[in-house]
């Protein structure tokens, strides 16, 4: 144990000093090789300036290439091979994919998640932002609504599984949801096994986590709205609701879109919640967990990579949209 702490500590020291030493030494060497004085000073400075950015960028570019770009190509290669990655099987994995019931179920559920979670989180976030900005203890309220953001998906799953807990007849219901249902005169249910509906109980967990994120960003956007537009509306006799819907919301569409897409990407990648709460049983499978299943339980790198590529494909439109936006801003 002590050894492990020492190892972690020394890694930080070695890593940090290694990085600093690399940047320091490489810059020093560059200065030595192309000195900014003597007969070739001018040419040397130009050449050094051409090289130096790449010294700064090298570790990042190498790591990005190795950990994020290279895997895309390997995944494509793996998806064309069998479970062990040895034999070329052409498009067999893809044709399997489209006939697989679990895959279709995952696609359907992912679609549901994509429709519900970003919309609900953004909606609740917008309401929370609009309301908390109007009251004195708004910042305190905000930090409490924001808090689930710090909780791991798996921790959140435990929290919500407890809420959905079901006890058999004759026992006191200790799950909050069933207790409420019982008090209102309903029959307690095993919520996580109800067909279709159980998907929404899982989505609730992510909505609970992401509302705070949406709230924080939308609240900043609401505050950034020019005062004059609101003043003019008040003078024209608009009600607070009208001001919110017709003056404020249209001015923050851009931010709403950013929040929406950010949560959309998260939804496509989410897997911990499904893994922890139902493990894809009772019709709750999603792509990310399906991929995990084929990777660990199925031990089939071909099929797992194929599923991963589908997730990648679904993310791509947002990726392109983000890049285009970023380039527009740089101009």
């Amino acid at each position: 144990m002590f050894e492990q702490l020492m190892m972690a500590g020394s890694t930080i020291v070695v890593g940090v000093f290694g990085c600093v030493a690399y940047f320091f030494a490489s810059n020093l060497i560059l200065d030595r090789l192309l000195p900014a004085r003597g007969p070739n000073a001018g040419a040397n400075i130009n050449r050094a300036n051409a090289v130096r950015p790449w010294l700064f960028l090298a570790p990042a570019v190498i790591l990005l290439g190795l950990y994020l770009v290279y895997p895309v190509f390997v995944s494509i290669w793996l998806s064309l091979h069998d479970s062990g990655g040895d034999r070329f099987v052409g498009l067999a994995n893809y044709s399997w994919l489209f006939q697989d019931g679990k895959f279709r179920e995952s696609m359907r559920n992912n679609l549901l998640w994509l429709l519900v979670v970003p919309a609900a989180s953004t909606f609740f976030g917008l309401i929370a932002a609009a309301l908390t900005d109007r009251i004195r203890w708004g910042n305190f309220a905000k930090s409490l609504i924001f808090m689930p953001m710090a909780i791991s998906f798996i921790g959140a799953s435990v929290i919500w599984k407890f809420i959905y807990d079901f006890r058999g007849e004759g026992q006191a219901q200790i799950g909050l949801l069933n207790a409420i249902v019982e008090t209102l005169g309903g029959t307690p249910q095993t919520w996580l096994t109800l067909d279709i509906a159980n998907n929404f109980f899982l989505m609730m967990v992510l909505i609970w986590i992401q509302t705070g994120f949406a709230m924080v960003i939308l609240s900043a956007a609401l505050r950034g709205i020019p005062e004059e537009t609101i003043e003019a509306a008040i003078l024209d006799g608009a009600s607070p609701l009208q001001i919110f819907l017709k003056i404020k919301v249209p001015q923050i569409w851009g931010t709403i879109a950013v929040v929406w897409t950010t949560i959309t990407i998260l939804v496509l990648k989410v897997f911990d919640i499904v893994l922890a709460m139902t493990n894809g049983q009772w019709g709750t499978q999603v792509l990310a967990n399906l991929m995990f299943d084929w990777m660990f339980r199925g031990n089939d790198s071909g099929r797992a990579s194929t599923v991963a590529l589908v997730i990648m494909l679904l993310v791509t439109p947002i990726m392109i949209w983000n890049i285009r936006n970023a380039r527009k801003e740089m101009r």
Partner: protein, 375 residues
């Protein structure tokens, strides 16, 4: 100007009440877990956590004091003690067999058979009398009592020791700290180059970083695990540090570049005129000025690596020396699905550090979110 529209007091009330409702809805799940983590298994199973603060009726099964403690009074052998073990509950009924656990009211005398009698008083003290010596295991007493609220820290003691969460805490730290520190440094240099150095391909690189922001991790898992195995890292801490560094870099570079671009141009140019090299400018001017952005990213990366399950499952083994807290929690969910006292205490321990970091550094977290999204 908002106030003018909001001066109507009914509206103010409505807003306040709605926010109260939202806050309650959003905190109650976590609060329920916290309360449950300090109740014992019987309490959790017999009543909802929202009843924990009130006295509750509980059915207890108590084994009478061991036979060695018996005394002899007037030709009878007596076992005596308190069924509530000193806590100040009130007994409402008791019984001598599991078939009729509530057959008798406090003060009554129940018959155990073969001449033995049992009586339990309202304060829980019991007395078993027998014409013969007690031998072997003492009889069981069934008590229904109204117990005052009581809390225990024993769940925490249990999960830290027996369930291995103490060790997992160390493992998580081992993963998290290097995985937070190392990407910051690498990203800071890259961000500086992308923000303040002129070179061909810069725009392309920035676009690439923006694109890589959304690459799903799932994509990278199998190829990288194969790569790690091929170059001999295997499943070990070095592998997960590198993986977290790689996966965290796009966000780090993006955040830091956005921040650095906003720094005043004059400072950097006047330093250049004074003959400072890029390395010096970066170290002495940019890095100190970028502290808020560095802090923002550090918190992000810390929360992300601490809360991560996927990367840890793939790049670390599940031995005692490598299992992180989220991994333990996942295993407990599988093996102790119904033992909520264990799950609640474990879950709360695993989210404790992120919560502390969150509340202490919220300012930087919000700032980072804004820099990363509203652009």
């Amino acid at each position: 100007m908002d106030n003018i529209a909001g001066t109507r007091s009914r509206l103010v009330w409505a807003v306040n009440l709605s926010v109260v409702a939202l806050v309650v809805l959003w905190t109650i799940p976590t609060f329920g877990l916290l309360v449950s983590s300090v109740r014992n298994a019987d309490q959790i199973a017999s009543s909802g956590w929202w009843q924990a603060l009130f006295p509750a009726t509980q059915n207890l099964i108590v084994r009478a004091a061991p036979a060695e403690s018996q005394s002899e009074e007037a030709g009878k052998f007596v076992l005596a003690g308190n069924a509530l073990e000193g806590s100040s509950g009130t007994v409402s009924a008791f019984g001598a067999s599991s078939r009729e656990p509530t057959a008798f009211a406090p003060g009554d005398v129940a018959d155990f058979g073969s001449g033995q009698t049992l009586s339990v008083a309202a304060d829980g003290s019991y007395r078993i009398e027998s014409p013969t010596r007690f031998e072997g295991r003492s009889p069981r007493i069934f008590v229904t009592a109204r117990m005052p609220p009581s809390f225990t820290s024993s769940n925490y003691a249990k999960v830290i020791g027996a369930e291995g969460l103490g060790r997992a805490f160390l493992n998580t730290m081992t993963v998290t700290i290097p995985a937070t520190v190392i990407p910051i440094l690498i990203a800071a240099f890259a961000a500086y180059a992308l923000a303040w150095m002129e070179f061909p391909g810069r725009a392309l690189l920035i676009a690439a970083v923006v694109g890589l922001l959304v690459v799903p991790l799932q994509m990278a898992l199998i190829p990288l695990l194969k790569l790690h195995n091929a170059i001999g890292i295997g499943k070990d801490y070095l592998g997960i540090w590198l993986a977290h560094t790689g996966f965290g870099l796009p966000m780090a570079i993006y955040l830091l570049r956005n921040y650095m671009v906003g720094l005043p141009r004059e400072i950097i140019e006047s330093a250049r005129v004074d003959g400072a090299t890029d390395f010096q400018i970066f170290l002495k001017i940019i890095l100190p000025l970028s502290f808020p952005a560095l802090a923002s990213f550090a918190i992000f990366q810390f929360l992300w690596t601490w809360n991560d399950l996927l990367v840890a499952t793939v790049f670390l083994g599940n031995t005692e020396s490598q299992l992180v807290m989220t991994g333990v929690l996942r295993e407990l969910l599988g093996s102790k699905g119904g033992e909520w006292e264990i799950l609640a205490a474990s879950a709360f321990l695993s989210i404790l550090v992120p919560l502390i970091v969150f509340f202490a550094m919220q300012k930087y977290l919000v700032r980072g979110l804004l820099a990363g999204s509203v652009k």
